[in-house]
Subunit: 327 residues, 6 copies
């Protein structure tokens, strides 16, 4: 079993070479991989400031600065798991439904090959078609969502497939285990008084205020207890971070998480049954001198390190085609 090797940053300087995620090789065959970085350059389901379609490219470039041993987990990612840059899935900027179907189809094929994914968006709408693929192979999943917004609206501008609605759609499709959904970092002004009501009713919602007030450690413990041993998917909207950390996103909200808090949350996945992850809403045109892409690349490394450290431990088995129940 071959472990793909990154470009060696001790030989080829980090400003050089064709930019792939973490300088890993470009491998489109998921059978060769345990985990694939997958670009999803699609932002047409974003309702306001777009640009996240350029996210995968910018994060690839920024990720060349990441080294590959994690100092806390003490794991060298590419030596523990077979991980590479899968490339980007097929998208078309003009059609949301068609693109979502394309996303589901391609992620389905990846999971069918026994490979898990770290998707890089793109807007948050893409998590819904990814979950459609993942849940086919795992059954309904727990979800940890780091985000300023719950993204559980029913519609936006009358449309059902948008970046404000993925978790409502996933819920309806039975892709989630509601009791194992944790939303962390929620904050900001609301469209309607009851915007949070649906989430509070179905999920475990933790506001950013609560994280700042109580500290991040007990929140991580709660998250771990809620999710338990179930298969769990991590979805990280970069606007979960405060604008000071991640200005390059479409809808920043003040009072958000610091990168350090976010790192504690991600590190808290050690030992959980992590079956997939994504990082979305990095919008390079909204960014300033790539700082958000740099932050995103380092968070991707944190996520990859969790996959690596969990590898070899008892893992959720990916089924050829588990059938999610319709809500």
């Amino acid at each position: 079993m071959d472990f793909p090797k990154p470009v060696d940053s001790m030989v080829y300087p980090r400003h050089g070479n064709i930019a792939t995620f973490m300088r890993m090789p470009h491998i489109s065959d998921p059978k060769q991989l345990d985990v694939a970085y997958v670009g999803v350059p699609f932002d047409t389901s974003a309702g306001y400031r777009v640009g996240a379609r350029l996210g995968p490219r910018a994060v690839r470039a920024a990720s060349s600065a990441v080294r590959l041993h994690h100092p806390v987990h003490d794991v060298t990612v590419h030596e523990r798991i077979r991980i590479a840059d899968y490339g980007d899935v097929l998208t078309t900027p003009f059609e949301i439904e068609k693109t979502y179907d394309s996303i589901t189809r391609e992620f389905d094929a990846i999971y069918a090959a026994g490979c898990r994914t770290i998707a890089v968006g793109g807007d948050h709408g893409i998590t819904y078609p990814i979950l459609r693929a993942v849940a086919k192979h795992t059954g309904p999943v727990g979800v940890v969502q780091i985000d300023a917004h719950t993204d559980t609206h029913d519609t936006q501008f009358g449309a059902r497939l948008t970046h404000a609605t993925p978790f409502r759609r996933a819920h309806e499709d039975g892709l989630l285990v509601p009791s194992k959904v944790v939303q962390l970092g929620i904050r900001g002004s609301l469209f309607y008084p009851d915007d949070l009501a649906w989430s509070r009713e179905h999920y475990h919602l933790v506001t950013a205020d609560e994280i700042h007030g109580r500290g991040v450690e007990p929140i991580v413990e709660e998250m771990r207890a809620t999710v338990g041993g179930a298969p769990v998917y991590l979805t990280f909207d970069i606007d979960g971070l405060d604008p000071m950390c991640a200005p390059g996103t479409g809808v920043p909200e003040i009072g958000g998480l610091t990168t350090w808090q976010a790192m504690q949350i991600i590190r808290g996945f050690a030992g959980l049954q992590l079956v997939g992850a994504d990082l979305v809403e990095v919008s390079p045109p909204c960014d300033t001198n790539d700082v958000t892409s740099i932050v995103a690349a380092q968070l991707l490394f944190e996520i990859a390190a969790v996959f690596a450290v969990n590898h070899g431990r008892r893992q959720a088995v990916l089924k050829p085609a588990a059938q999610p129940r319709r809500a």
Copy 2:
């Protein structure tokens, strides 16, 4: 008959006040106007770098620096025509066809009220639904298109309504008089060898090379001769300009027009039957310190001045509902 008055820049400094086009009042009733600036904040039909949805807002802000007497035409725009900021038409970022229908509907109502429009995009796809509205009231129109690209593809990514296809769609719908369509400034690499063939067959295509080689004056004369006394629509894709003049656009092409050349072309509309105009593809996220928005605002002023100087001369009569013929 009341002439709307701008905020007086000799009293209220130009950095102040709510930003409208040229500091004119916000008037949504087209019956009060001869010409309306109309924002069309829609860029979902753009296939690559988006951001033109933010164009109207940025151009409004930049336009506060424009004064209102034209030094060459010797006309004070707002004293010759009733002109104001209509506001933005209804768009929804997720649906192209629905938005195009909305655009046509709203422009139709404006023209039905006897008012002409200077639209500010948004991506170039919006010209098609605008032409659907205009041609209802004028019959098929001549078109002068300043652009790097012909935008006459049949489809892009399999879609028929995109910013690469508006003039093919308008052609099919019989909205244009092909012999009176002039495309100026065309250049850049092509997808396929025959990308220009269709345009060369149906329209009068003038490359940027030809304009640089022959000088702009004879080209303007040709344009005027081609268009003649027919109703004509001016559509200005900001990427007709060279990137040095207009970096803030999705698909810049080197070797383009200077602003001075563009100004000569616009000024060449004096005496023509100008029935409408647009300026599209200004993408603030692709811009640097608003320079493209500033350029766009001044070009809008050049366009408005032509409407003003032509006013009172023999003008094309807007019909309640002329019926374009289907190609």
Copy 3:
């Protein structure tokens, strides 16, 4: 009694339409309003890096992303109070005294109509002429000032009307109740050893160090206790925030407040007799990709929410012309 309604962001996308504060209508008649957002595009009293004259315009644009229900106060701002965008007051960039007089005159008229104000600067010098107007209708007020600097110098470059002196001037004019003035977030290098002495003698000065050291909650309690039931004016210099949160200002100082700390302070005004507020020193030319304007817009929403939640409770009565005592 009509409540002005914002543009509905569920119908018109947030990147569209003429930019007003919070997408509220432009209403220049204060009699129709309980609270008015008022732009004050003036920065000639700034002694170093200017640009705050462009603040109101940039914050208007950024504010279109704010929704209108507050998640903590559980109040929909525009349904509880009549609030709108008043537009900008008359300023002239060349003359400080004349402009200050103009500001006082216009705010006086607004308060005389029974309307309170949330002013958006502009440099911090504008707070002095605003306080001249406010105190006419409330008598001397308490002031909570979030700021890096005390702004209590006697003169700057020999001038008495500058952004370094407003609270010295207001003090001399008897516009303030010194025992109810709280300065929060003070820090940074000083011109002279005794720069803070005057403030410490007359006011309740709390350094940023103290806020970081003790936590923000006890500080908020102290602030509430100090101000008590007196009429109080909130003045927020954006440089009260750390440069990481608000780089777009003339004189940033490290070691400042986070937005989360600032939000706790503003929320602490619930139940107080808030008679007016301002947010100043947002300088778009010093900003990077609008992040400071975005932060400012969200802080304005926090301030508006306090006005809304306090509304209907026992409120300070605005008098036609209370006479401040000369110090």
Copy 4:
């Protein structure tokens, strides 16, 4: 007689050392110099987008890249004339009249010492107090003004001392020889129909259109013929250039000069009686990555080279105190 020597860019790299104009030493004693670069960091007389107060600093930094031999005039500037960085004159950001008096006083002292100046603004208002000083020593001067705007308004916002009025004020004070005033590059929208009338009546006004249409060479000849052997002052508003060349200025106007055209004009001063010069309206906050400052630095070198090449030829004698006649 000592010739000040620049930092040697073949020894000390250009990114190093304290930034002075052209890396020349800082010498505040005008008696040691033939020509002094003088910073005038003042922009309070600018009516719209400010920032030119930061111009001298930014141009100093950019000028370190300039080498010191001119390839066309074949002259090494600092070996032909004693030239250095005088530093900045005293200004106060709050008061125009007081600052103008300060400027006049300091330039007067420089000219009284037999030294000429290349001033770096600052807004264009500063040319008026400089001319008050220059004309004391030369009598009324000819002026060549490269500019988009005539700057001959009577007042702006009711004020007489602004960046829109310097040449009206200088005219009234008899500082100019009207028949020897040439305005080059004028263009752009006007406040009022007769904005250009005054200039056309009193001066030789050449529009940018005319320069593009006729070519720059005959214009230079006209300029030389108009100015003849009289003492002449060169005032270069960076907005004389097209925004593509100089985006970093408060009020850019499209259709402007290229740097190459501007260089031809400046080089046309060889052999004229150049008694002083300035370069104004470089506004770093409006700039993008210093490109306008770089352009400005190189234009300053072109100007200095003219002083150098003219040196030793028959020169206008600076009088201790020639008295301008009041108009």
Copy 5:
């Protein structure tokens, strides 16, 4: 013989996928190619503003917008020649000589395989080690250099291998045919009076002034006549362009070429014996919103099109190891 195919931009949108030059596949085996794009991410031989080490990466990203049929040459590049992205050669940022040796070694291997190169720098110093490799296989070559500076200094800061000296070193090594070296676009201030003397003595030097004065067509004819049927190498320093076209470079000089002029020069290589080319000194950190990278990508396409159109015509034969004569 397989022709590598680009990612199809009609299927995969241009913002997607791993960024390679022109979306061509990454092929490191030169035997499979007629022409290779080769990145040289090295800028340690730049003496002032660095950043060109990031050039290849930025140009790769920008190049995804280029389509692949040339409208004037009427050639589809990748269907006429086997061309691909070779990747980057090995460089080390700390050592110039070692890196130059590495560059020579790697280019030598490419040419030995019968493949020609379009190198993307990196600073201009890299042309010297490339020429060492090229001339081994062609004998001494003619050179057309588009540049603001001659780059023929003997040393800079005492060093012999810098971006100011490549053509002096190549000359000494006998890699060039001096009578067939053309330097186009030279301008700007000089370190010493005789900076141009050496070039004028040995080469055909054409200043930018001359190109602007005489027009570009006769210059192209001269260039073609000078080079004749000899093997010729094209080296394009992006600072040959005016800063308005290419701000993103270390040492911009005003009065430079427009992109249109540069395109005419490159197109003038049709029919010449073009054996290699490079584009250097694109410095993304000096750029504004990628505009220089976009320009560079389109110029690379112009260069590639010349290789394509010349292919099949009588071509210079690459020898296994022609021996350049030492000067």
Copy 6:
């Protein structure tokens, strides 16, 4: 004994005048000074994103906003110590070893004159040649290093003199007292599993995680206890700060220190035997609107204030030439 005086910011506005560190005079004679700000504009030993060569210039400009009395130490820096801007040391961008020797030579001369230094880089490699000079006069020193990275690699790309290796080299040369070396803020991904092992073995390494977890106060106490009364050198790599505070650096790492934490650490040097300091890796091309330079300038002030407050207390005596022991 003369105390150099800064430009008075109450007379000359802060945007004016030639930019020196803290507006102090330029004095190259170390005998006149107790402490010298010394620019070291060199970044060739940086392995990835360069630009720190422009650091001293940018920090000089930003520092003009700093006032000179410290509010916590209650000391007016320039009245307690003789401090000024020494200018920049001689560097050559092409040669690391030669430049390091030059740095050592020049700092040696400064220390030999009894003057201490606050160096402004430049990349972190420069600390090694500075320590060679310092230790000659103090003997081996304790070091407090605020940094994301330990910089104790043996080589980078095979080179021994790089910004990744200074403390390994200094260690080998016996310039340090290992038991008195404290590394604060260490974090981020590692090249190899044992990257931190060497530091943990020889030094007192404190991760950023630990600082966030325990709070900064006990860390400061530990640092003071570790260093004790020994001569100590403070080296501050700006990437010790979180990217939200200091985006303008070559290799930012998330989870870093806030400026407030850094200020507590620096203030903790009061009473220690501080013999020198530096601030490195500020890279203006990686910065956004100068925010990192502003932060750096204020940290420099914090450092200078410690020198000032310690002055007069018992101080480490600088020896003419103490001999460090070879490791």
